[in-house]
């Protein structure tokens, strides 16, 4: 029982990441009708926003310390971060320590900008082209983005730790009446889950309760009519693309402490998140979120030793298996609208 609870937590956690990426993908597909294969790359860029911000905070100049030597026996050059000089040692360290959450502030404008540039500069020319062309051009863009990141940051994962305050685990089981230490769950993963929930709720509220959101939802349903009403839907859709990019981006920022960012993490998530979108129902926001959590939990269960013992390899294929079954039995996905890309 305790294992099942832990795996549900794991599934919710993985599902949060899937759901956030799938949410953005669906926003883009629903509003702009574009299949964006570069969305995984946006997630990766977000994670690297955290890395870059951390590096920016740690920017330092070298001071030669004669008392120590480096590995070649020369006098050691010690890095002194500028933030130490500007804010003092303690405040500087605290800044660096909290760099991941702080970098959300950095990532949102950056990713919005990236999204807007992407939409204006590239995607907008592909609205009328077939889905295959959209897939291909965004796939090309994904390759380019990840290669650029690799050029600057190398291929190895870059450890981007959470603030010290969030290291360690919460004894979750005690709350549920289990013995102490049976269900331990890392603080940061819990933070990630709640963070994702807030973002998802925020996006839904934004679409539901603001006039802007209402126009966008109307546009999702019937683009031409809204255009006829004299509303400049294009501008709003551009912003939606930026918003989707920002959602993917901050999903990446917060994910950085969970899995150390590397340049190909976007591609790792891409295939998966498309499966999520398709399972949830192309164009359905609640579907994307639900499918994200569902697949996360299924994946977690499939990797339990008790399961893999009987079905070796099931953990490797569960996601695809689910996708095949859903597509064959319910082609519009779990919550897809009837008639939307149902063929």
């Amino acid at each position: 029982m305790d294992q099942i609870i832990v795996q549900i937590l794991n599934g919710l956690d993985k599902g949060s990441a899937y759901a956030l990426i799938a949410l953005g993908l669906t926003l883009i597909f629903g509003t702009l009708g574009v299949v964006n294969f570069a969305h995984g790359a946006l997630f990766m860029l977000g994670a690297f926003c955290a890395v870059i911000f951390n590096r920016l905070l740690s920017l330092s100049h070298k001071v030669v310390d004669e008392s120590r030597t480096d590995f070649l026996g020369n006098p050691m050059q010690v890095d002194v971060p500028y933030v130490h000089e500007w804010f003092g040692q303690a405040a500087g360290d605290a800044l660096i320590n909290w760099s991941v959450p702080l970098s959300i502030l950095f990532a949102i404008p950056v990713m919005l900008l990236v999204g807007v540039i992407m939409e204006r500069g590239l995607i907008k020319h592909f609205y009328k082209r077939p889905h295959a062309d959209q897939i291909l051009v965004t796939f090309g863009l994904a390759i380019v983005l990840q290669e650029i990141i690799k050029y600057f940051f190398g291929a190895n994962p870059i450890q981007t730790p959470a603030p010290d305050a969030f290291r360690g685990s919460l004894d979750f089981g005690v709350w549920l009446g289990f013995d102490p230490l049976t269900i331990m769950y890392p603080y940061w993963r819990l933070v990630y889950f709640f963070f994702a929930a807030i973002i998802i709720a925020g996006v839904f509220a934004f679409l539901q309760f603001t006039t802007f959101g209402m126009v966008v939802r109307a546009g999702m349903a019937d683009r031409e009519t809204v255009g006829l009403l004299g509303i400049d839907i294009d501008k709003r859709f551009t912003f939606m693309f930026g918003l989707a990019a920002a959602v993917a981006g901050i999903a990446g920022v917060m994910y950085a402490p969970i899995v150390a960012p590397n340049y190909h993490m976007g591609m790792d998530f891409l295939v998966l998140s498309f499966v999520v979108v398709v399972v949830g129902g192309m164009g359905s926001l609640p579907g994307a979120v639900a499918a994200g959590f569902l697949l996360g939990i299924l994946e977690s269960f499939a990797s339990m030793p008790a399961v893999t013992q009987f079905l070796p390899g099931i953990n490797q294929i569960i996601i695809y298996l689910v996708a095949i079954i859903v597509l064959l039995t319910r082609p519009r996905g779990l919550m897809g609208r009837k008639g939307v890309m149902e063929e």
């Binding site: 795996q7 590995f71 230490l181 150390a260 953990n315």
Partner: protein, 455 residues
């Protein structure tokens, strides 16, 4: 305008004729010399097939740095590096057998298919006489088989699975790097002394060949000293979030977690394990411990502070000579020239590629011939010293190097970004030696075959 590294085919020098002339039917450019890609009188081309893209690109880049350094030293440029400390004095900085050393490099993408293609292009197009490099056992086994087939020498880079010199051993292939069995044998006594002999281990194993052999080796040697294996779970290679695999560990009754992972897998699984509090946890009344059988400095850097206090094994470490004395001479010479040129200390992948290149050059020189069979003969049961690992034997039965194995631990308070591990102990060579027909190495059936000159 052409620099030294331009590739020329050896055959051109021997057989260039003005006008048209149809050469005799040949088998892959075998010449009068009787072996594949015999070099011309001026230069010889080596092939460096390393991962330049994909998850091991940084290791590949480090290997390539070391290989370029080796070429410099062989050609008498730079400070000569390990040539000064190498016990064999056959090499004198005038290239190999008086021929200037040139090289081609290519991207093996850590995919066995691509590695074969890259190696084939080096052999067929650039006339490479020896291939080295690589960062996985899959590519090593694949390229080694190719080299055996076409008749050139393969000096394996970073490959740790038993199979490379076990059931997939080949006469034309040589491995300097240590292997899974040695990791297990080297770690076991230290694990026993550090953590006791009554431990219960939980294995997470990457679901592919290297993972299997490593788990087998570690289990065998830890169980032999009294440990119990509670469970072992295979994890997909493409996994990035290991939480589902880590979470059940704490309540499984185990008190040691063995991560048979390498590269990105290792960074992620270790990070996850630390997140889940395993390093601070206790079980069965003991401190919970994590073991990573195969360490890599580059990956340790990726794992950051999570690596602190984690035990593992290495083929070599750049601090060996400083900390354990002159037995490991060569280390400092190499670190000095590498560090001077590139600004940071070399990784063990870099070291092993550098050493392999020197060993090949030395064997050719001692044999007086580039013919693969002559090289095989020269390397067979070759004993040497001064290449950083102490006295080393290239065993003739399986072409595996036997030398001390370094057991390391993630450093608690690193002084700089390169100083991530501390040497715990060095397990002497006789404790990690095994018979050539050991069951983990293909048993009695495993055979090198005969060396192939390609002609």
């Amino acid at each position: 305008m052409s620099k030294s590294t331009f590739t020329r085919r050896g055959v051109l020098r021997t057989g260039a004729v003005a006008g048209a002339g149809l050469a005799l039917p040949t088998y892959l450019r075998a010449q009068d010399s009787g072996f594949t890609n015999a070099p011309g009188p001026d230069s010889v081309t080596l092939g460096f097939s390393v991962p330049l893209s994909g998850p091991y690109a940084d290791e590949g880049a480090d290997e390539l740095r070391a290989l370029e350094l080796a070429v410099e030293h062989l050609n008498g440029e730079g400070d000569g590096g390990m040539l000064q400390t190498f016990s064999s004095k056959a090499l004198d900085g005038t290239g190999i057998l008086g021929r200037r050393v040139e090289y081609v490099s290519g991207d093996d993408q850590t995919k066995s298919d691509v590695a074969r293609a890259t190696a084939r292009s080096m052999i067929e197009k650039d006339g490479a006489i020896m291939i080295t490099g690589g960062s996985s056992s899959g590519t090593a086994v694949a390229v080694q088989a190719l080299c055996q087939e076409v008749g050139i020498i393969f000096m394996a880079g970073l490959t740790h699975a038993n199979d490379t010199t076990g059931k997939d051993r080949k006469a034309n292939g040589f491995r300097h790097f240590f292997n899974s069995y040695m990791s297990g044998a080297a770690l076991a006594p230290i694990l026993a002394s550090q953590y006791g002999t009554d431990r219960r281990a939980y294995h997470l194993t990457a679901d592919y060949n290297w993972g299997y052999t490593t788990e087998e080796a570690i289990r065998a040697s830890t169980e032999a000293m009294g440990w119990e294996t509670v469970n072992s779970v295979l994890t997909p290679l493409t996994q990035t979030d290991f939480s589902s695999y880590i979470a059940p560990v704490l309540n499984s009754g185990a008190d040691v977690l063995v991560l048979n992972h390498y590269g990105g897998n290792m960074v992620n699984s270790l990070t996850n394990a630390v997140q889940f509090g395993l390093r601070e946890a206790s079980a069965n009344g003991k401190q919970f411990e994590i073991v990573v059988p195969l360490y890599s400095e580059l990956m340790a850097r990726g794992a950051g502070p999570n690596i602190k206090g984690i035990l593992g094994s290495q083929n070599w470490d750049w601090k060996l000579e400083n900390e354990l004395g002159a037995k490991y001479s060569g280390t400092n010479a190499f670190v000095q020239s590498f560090g001077t040129k590139y600004g940071f200390p070399p990784s063990q992948a870099a070291h092993t590629c550098y050493v392999q290149t020197l060993l090949y050059a030395d064997a050719v020189t001692r044999a007086g011939s580039f013919a693969p069979c002559a090289v095989v003969e020269a390397l067979k049961d070759f004993e040497f010293d001064g290449l950083g690992n102490g006295p080393t034997l290239y065993r003739g039965d399986d072409h595996q190097c036997f030398k001390d194995v370094v057991v390391v631990r993630g450093k608690e308070n690193p002084e700089n970004e390169f100083d991530l591990v501390e040497i715990v102990e060095v397990t002497p060579v006789d404790q990690v030696t095994y018979p050539p027909d050991h069951p983990q190495f293909g048993g009695a059936e495993a055979t090198l075959g005969t060396c192939n000159n390609g002609a």
